[in-house]
């Protein structure tokens, strides 16, 4: 491990990517991920690796496709409205099974939105913002340390499954400064060669990163992809359950919001309310088994997000109506006020149902 450093999340992701053996980074300026692009500009060239500030996000993701086809670890980063521009490229990477790591530092939406931190790309990331039956592996860090750790994991999973992997982080994670330690750097030449890399066909038959044109070819390809996704779902789910064993209220949140929720759970415990926290780390594949176990003894589930309930829809699906679900979300960059949420949770515990009272005054409050 490195010594402990004090770094911005964006820069920590850059350093973690370099230590993961990334050989090519392509990016385009957009807030709140700019420090990552600048970090790569400072450090990739001096290491003899590739950095290009491309003319668009579209070129960035397609250059990632090129470099990764040619057999090296490649990466791009962006934010929300500009992540939309990358979606066709991500879908194409999934189609031709080319690994890539993509970082989304979420800002406000829809559309151009604003530059403030939100979680409003959950659906785009988790449901597949591009066309077709594919999945992106989506990792949601809640700290600078975890952002660095998940960056390494993203490269590993992306190579293992020959599939794009995404770091989906609230802009807050990119902007905040925390202490972080890094694992020892990987020498890119130690990464196993890909047996599908386009390197010139010297001494072997030609390789093609090629489309599947007939109905039969494409359906068989899709069947194989679905099997691969199932294996990934069976193998790669990650989550954290805190104080959930005896919890009567289980709060569910991801990323930066889970930091607020964790503190709130501690405060509720201090006043005698048995609260717990379930935090998915992989948003796809989602750790539904752990979620079901975490809420086993719960009277109610409280979902908190910095969006209008994108993950909450999935929580409802996973829990199949077995528990009452209360949702609260803020949009546009406002931060959840945990004092308000605590007051509402107290009411839920005491069977006083006024969860929606603040609806429209402090963001969105829904009962599901």
């Amino acid at each position: 491990m490195s010594k402990k450093l004090f770094m911005k999340g964006n820069e920590a992701i850059g350093e973690a990517a370099i230590r993961s053996g990334v050989m090519a980074y392509y990016g385009y300026p957009i807030t709140p991920q700019n420090e990552l692009t600048a970090y790569m500009a400072r450090h990739m060239r001096e290491k003899g690796r590739v950095f290009i500030q491309t003319e668009s996000e579209i070129t960035a993701i397609n250059a990632v496709f090129g470099s990764s086809c040619a057999g090296v670890r490649a990466m791009t980063s962006s934010a929300s409205t500009a992540m939309s521009l990358k979606q066709e490229g991500i879908s194409h990477l999934a189609y031709l099974e080319i690994p890539a790591v993509i970082v989304d530092m979420m800002r406000g939406g829809p559309g151009l939105g604003n530059i403030l931190a939100t979680q409003n790309d959950y659906n785009q990331a988790v449901k597949g913002g591009g066309t077709g039956d594919y999945h992106t592996i989506v990792l949601a860090p809640s700290s600078v340390q975890e952002a660095a750790d998940l960056t390494r994991l993203a490269f590993e999973l992306s190579d293992k499954y020959r599939n794009p992997a995404m770091i989906l982080a609230d802009g807050t994670i990119g902007q905040m400064v925390e202490s972080v330690e890094f694992p020892e750097p990987i020498d890119p030449s130690d990464i196993p060669e890909r047996d599908y890399a386009l390197t010139g066909c010297k001494g072997r038959p030609p390789r093609k990163a090629e489309p599947k044109n007939s109905a039969e070819e494409l359906e068989n390809h899709n069947l194989r992809l679905q099997e691969k996704y199932q294996t990934c779902m069976d193998t790669e789910k990650r989550s954290e359950s805190i104080l959930t064993d005896d919890a009567e209220i289980v709060v569910v949140s991801f990323g930066f919001v889970s930091r607020l929720a964790h503190e709130m759970v501690a405060e509720l415990r201090a006043e005698g309310i048995k609260a717990g926290l379930f935090r998915p780390i992989t948003l796809w594949p989602f750790d539904d088994d752990a979620l079901k176990k975490a809420v086993e003894n719960a009277k109610a589930v409280v979902v908190l997000e910095h969006n209008a309930g994108m993950m909450c829809s999935d929580i409802r699906m996973y829990l199949e109506g077995q528990k009452p679900i209360y949702f609260h979300g803020r949009m546009g960059g406002s931060i959840i006020n945990t004092d308000s949420v605590k007051a509402k949770i107290r009411n839920v515990v005491n069977n006083k149902e006024d969860w929606r009272e603040l609806h429209g005054k402090e963001g969105i409050w829904k009962t599901c």
Binding site: M23, A24, Y26, V50, I52, T54, E55, S56, I58, T59, A60, N62, A63, V64, F65, G66, S67, S68, C69, A70, G71, V72, A74, E88, G89, H92, L96, L198, T199, G200, C201, K202, G203, P206, R207, K208, A209, E210, P211
Partner: protein, 251 residues
């Protein structure tokens, strides 16, 4: 022993071209394959296809090939070349791919001076999707999306990419050729080989625009389509070396 004077280039596999009768892509594919053979670079070359009729070439070549998204061929080629600078990376694009949806990609790959060779097949129409107007469709030319002929006031005017790209400092070589006569075909092959040599000599970005017939979407017989090139297309898309900084260096 009798000597075989003409056969399939080694860089092409046994698959039969899927191009329509008289289509120029078959000729240009073959010229590229012959060039690769004659230069002995098949094992050291990575091809980058595109979305459009000629993009099927990935399936016909005995070399490594990537199939990128529509218009993004220069971006993918950049990504390959930058991490494999010792390989020869050849892009092949049509006019919808290069001059419409991929305009930004070609301009910036060229202006960065990526060490790439791009073969740009300009047949003035969208072939695969059914004969829609391309950025290169000539004034008065009929197409599915400019019925009755391209009206410059309503549909806009055609674009000259080679002229435009020649203005960029990253471009070392820009030439427009065609394949309507044996002499022009020989010149086209020479241009392709020069573009590849430029890349091997690390000289910069080379673009070879090939004016090519699309008999089906031009609604002409193959013979008439080839005749139309000289009569209607070359007066607008003139054959010319627009830029060659490499010759200057050689002198």
């Amino acid at each position: 022993m009798e000597k075989k004077a003409f056969g399939r280039p080694a860089s092409l596999n046994d698959k039969i071209f899927t191009y329509c009768p008289g289509c120029g892509h078959g000729v240009v594919n073959r010229l590229l394959a012959e060039s690769i053979d004659e230069m002995g670079i098949a094992e050291n070359t990575i091809g980058v296809a595109y979305v459009g009729c000629g993009g099927m070439l990935y399936d016909f070549f005995n070399i490594d090939f990537a199939f990128p998204l529509h218009g993004r061929s220069p971006a993918a080629a950049t990504g390959i070349k930058r991490v494999r600078p010792d390989k020869i990376v050849i892009g092949y694009q049509g006019d919808g791919d290069l001059a419409a949806i991929g305009t930004a990609e070609i301009i910036h790959a060229a202006t960065r001076g990526e060490k790439l060779t791009v073969i740009f097949v300009n047949n003035g129409i969208y072939g695969m999707t059914g004969g829609q107007m391309a950025p290169t469709t000539l004034i008065g030319q009929d197409a599915a999306t400019c019925p009755g002929g391209r009206d410059p006031e309503y549909h806009g005017k055609p674009i000259r990419m080679c002229e435009m790209l020649a203005q960029l400092d990253g471009v070392c070589y820009a030439e427009r050729v065609t394949i309507d006569t044996p002499a022009h075909i020989r010149a086209a092959k020479k241009a392709i080989q020069k573009g590849i040599r430029n890349q091997m000599a690390q000289k910069g970005f080379s673009i070879i625009e090939v004016v090519s017939p699309c008999p089906v979407q031009w609604k002409l017989s193959p013979v008439d389509a080839y005749k139309r090139i000289e009569r209607e297309v070359l007066p607008f898309y003139g054959l010319k070396i627009f830029k060659d900084t490499t010759e200057e260096e050689e002198r």
